[in-house]
Amino acid sequence: MATTHGTRRPRTVRETRSIRGTRTGRIRGTRGRGIALHAVLVLGLLLSAFPFYWAVIMSTHTSSEIFSFPPKLLPGSHFPENVRHLFAAVDFFGSMLNSLLVAGSVTVLVLFFDSLAAFVFAKFAFPGRRPLFALLMLIFMVPAQLAAIPQFVIMAKLGWIGSMTSLVVPASANAFGIFWMRQYMRGAIPDELLDASRIDGAHFLRQYWHVALPVVRPGLAFLGIFTFMSQWNDYAWPLIALTNPDNVTLQVALSQLNGTHGTTDYGMVMTGALLALVPLLTVFAIGARQIIGDLAKGAIR
């Protein structure tokens, strides 16, 4: 679709003008280059999208069809059957609900704790502000597996192993979010606004809630979507912490499915992988513009 638009689009005014002004050979060169450019970009786009298409093909065929040669290149008609097998093999919706619960509550907690701390670091002076913020940056660098064993031991002592609490509590505030929101708030919240609200007698929490938060909503949207997606996709720690195989998150359930049926019922396993992608792709489609723009901005800052 994109190719036809790219090659057969009508000339813009500027292009027409430049065609009049230059030699014919040159024009053919630039137009040819434009077409080649879009051809390569569309090829990249197809490569990006191909695994999703492949998953659709695999999830609409039976395993014996998948094993036959030559490989199927068009979707089949066995999707409902694969879905039935999938729901019989794992508690798909139960684990999806767990993922939703974990990712949802972590997102709410992170948004609150991180933005509150970021507000303090961005807009207030207090003894120890510099060393505390430096410590925050240091924490950013600590690799996960250094803390993994003791975390596991501590959670076992607390009786959290096997429950979703072990995923939610340690993730409910993080250095990245505080750092990111602080950068955002420094520029976005005018000091005059805070001064004015202080003269009106607004307490710290009122300032946070009624002055700061409304202004930084786009920043919160990014942090929220980003947090939700990374929690939804988290795999290593849930794999260790959720010791009851019947009560797991979606990613762990998928992995179990692949581990036990991955060599026999490909169609069903692939259906699981495909369906597990749907909620996240929806969230991404809603927030894509925001998240792509903000991530890139953060990187070049």
Binding site: P51, W54, L146, P150, S172, N258, A296, A299
Partner: protein
């Protein structure tokens, strides 16, 4: 990112030096309370665990019985452990196979996107898509693309008359499959970051280069690349830190190719990365003391690589 510490904030409350004494301290209590949740969490699930893991690495412990003092013996064993060294080798090879094509492709894509006028947002959306999908689902999908019997890659090889490869059953096949997955998932993400960097380069510079008679290749190496150094550094450091700690990709891709352990890294342990080895030692063998020593070993390797990376890119900048 680096501007974090030197920029002055705009204090709304009075300067701390102005309010001193007990009354002054008390005036700040709500600020400390507001930042405390993160520091409390970090204390419980960060600082104490990291300290404890250092302590653990000097002990023998199975997680249940009594801890036994082991001195330096865990580290001595680590240095002589050929399995650990081979896991470093696997990790570095997979990282290199993934990172260099990825950075190259991402740069090419970004330069092309920068000169494309139309559909920029469509491309950005599509290229970013692989990065938001879960590694577990993607690894399952790639496992079937690289399957020996019915995989698409082998079907393509056969179609052009080449021999089939048992991708997930040979040392190099395993590494190539994991690296391909990583490249697919991260190229678009890095291309968009490069693109954001490219868009900050003022157009006059290109104009000046064109007037000086520089071709597109010379312009790229003389103008674009030097100005992109900070962004390149960011991408390289992030790729190094995440790439050297890869776990989910090899774990899911290879979990049902070998019978022994879910963390074995496939036939011949060819896909056993450092972090997989850490999980195997710790949670399969319940060797918490040695696991802690492995974790510190990984930390050193990652830190070393990051420093080397940083130095290389920095020094080129000084020339």
């Amino acid at each position: 990112m680096a501007t974090a510490l030197d920029g002055k904030p705009s204090p709304v409350l009075a300067d701390p030096s102005a309010v001193r004494g007990k009354r002054g301290r008390r005036a700040y209590w709500h600020l400390y309370a507001a930042i405390s949740p993160f520091y409390l969490l970090f204390l419980c699930f960060g600082l104490v665990p990291v300290g404890f893991s250092l302590y653990l690495s000097f002990h023998r412990w199975d997680g249940l019985g009594r801890m036994e003092w082991a001195g330096l013996s865990q580290y001595r064993y680590l240095l002589a452990d050929s399995d650990f060294w081979s896991s470093i080798g696997n990790t570095v090879v997979i990282w290199a196979l993934a990172t260099f094509p990825m950075v190259f492709l991402a740069m090419v894509t970004a330069v092309m996107l920068n000169s494309a006028v139309r559909f920029k947002n469509v491309y950005r959306f599509a290229y970013f898509l692989p990065n938001v999908t879960s590694v577990v689902a993607v690894a399952i999908i790639f496992g079937s693309v690289f399957s020996t019997n019915f995989g698409l890659v082998n079907a393509l090889l056969q179609a052009v008359g080449l021999d089939q490869v048992a991708w997930l059953n040979t040392p190099w096949g395993i590494k190539v499959a994991i690296a391909t997955l990583m490249t697919w998932q991260w190229t678009g993400y890095n291309a968009i970051i490069f693109l954001a960097g490219l868009q900050t380069i003022p157009g006059e510079l290109y104009e000046a280069a064109r007037i000086d008679g520089a071709g597109p290749v010379a312009t790229f190496f003389r103008v674009t690349l030097p100005l992109m150094r900070p962004v390149l550094l960011f991408v390289l450091v992030v790729s190094t830190v995440t790439g050297l700690q890869s776990f989910s990709e090899p774990q899911v891709l290879l979990q049902n190719t070998a019978n022994e352990s879910a963390f074995s890294g496939g036939p011949g342990h060819a896909g056993r990365t450092m972090v997989l080895y850490f999980f195997q030692q710790t949670f399969d063998n319940n060797d918490f003391g040695y696991g802690a020593a492995v974790a510190w070993g990984i930390f050193l390797v990652v830190a070393l690589f990051s420093i080397v990376n940083w130095r290389l890119v920095q020094r080129r900048g000084e020339e």
